[in-house]
Amino acid sequence: MPAIFTVDPRSGVPLYLQLIEQIKRAVALGMLGPGEQLPTVKALALELTVNPNTVARVYRELEHDGVIETSPGRGSFVRADAAAESGRAVNDIAWAAAQAAVREAKSLGLSREETQDLLLRALAHWYETEKDA
């Protein structure tokens, strides 16, 4: 697996959640293909310099979420049906980002209508840009 993952200990987000998100994103974007083998817990812990129990937890939760499968003695692999799973992962990540945007607007004291207007303008901005390109 390419060295595409990083953790930020200064963030308030627990490291295991940071890693789960990054691996889901890598699967969603095809950087990790179906059947691709993940490093062992020890190898990834040493590569990222994070606690091995943290990595083990990441793998357990990814397995639970249907992103990877682990067979004893062979290792952990991206699931064959990762194409379907990856769509869900993309949705999860985008949903979290949309949630964060709304939460942020709310925390700044914007009303529901103002927030809706803001999101519509963001949509117009990005899709307008694509049309021009």
């Binding site: 953790v7 200990p9 963030s11 308030g12 627990p14 490291l15 020890k42 091995p52 129990n53 943290t54």
Partner: protein
Amino acid sequence: MNAPAIALNGLTKRYGNFTAVDGVTLEVAPGSICGLLGPNGAGKTTTFKCLLGFARPTAGTVAIEGAPVTPATFAALAYVPEVANLYEPFTIAEHLTLYRRSYASYDEARARELLTLFELDPRRRARKLSKGMRTAVALTLAFSIRPRVLILDEPASGLDPIHQRHVLDLMIDAATNGAAVLFSSHQVGQVERAADAVAILKRGRLVVNSGIDELKTGEKIIEATFEGPLPELRGLADDPRILRVERVGSILRAVTREGSDEIAQRIFAEHPKSIRIIDLNLEEIFMNAVNEAVA
């Protein structure tokens, strides 16, 4: 569940009227890394001394691998003090020889690997080494015996950032091989990376003893701003899930140990102008723990 490799039960150490360690109960399981944080003088080194049998507890007990500490304990235990104890006239190579003769589990190949890792010249004498190099020698010796229990007192002090990273990797490697690691540090980021559990000492008392993930998931700041006077919010200060409530001008700030969503909902019912839940990193959690209830 594995029996703890390191266990402190109600450990108390008094020197005259001064209580250096006050009722500390802490366990580290095999394969686990516990980071011990605390301001200077909080009792970290005294805790280690009691754990190693270098100081006699006033009350409470300590156990390594389920048994009281005896000379035999040290066959599988490595301790690196904050200031490395070396034999000043000896070369680094002679230190390795000493370890080869003293420890059945000594691994020569591993020791050579570590010398290379820390860029140490085995021909150099201990008394000519810098503080960081002395620490590196002590770490090389500690890890060369493939210990099952590691107790490290600020193991990265005096090392450059690259060698500091190596120290974390050595701890991680040891833990994946089943060792239990207890280490103290002033660098919270190191604890956050390497440890799965964190203990925070303040004036001899353990004020935090938790898994890092649980700690970061639970501890948040809820910050709400109000127009006009701040609401009373009866019972907020008595809620056991809330560590502290601050009121500054139009801002209400609550530090929660858990249940931040529910508490935020309660504050939201008072119609704040704005409200947000702030994630805390370990450094901020540490600051909260050692500063709380100062008044």
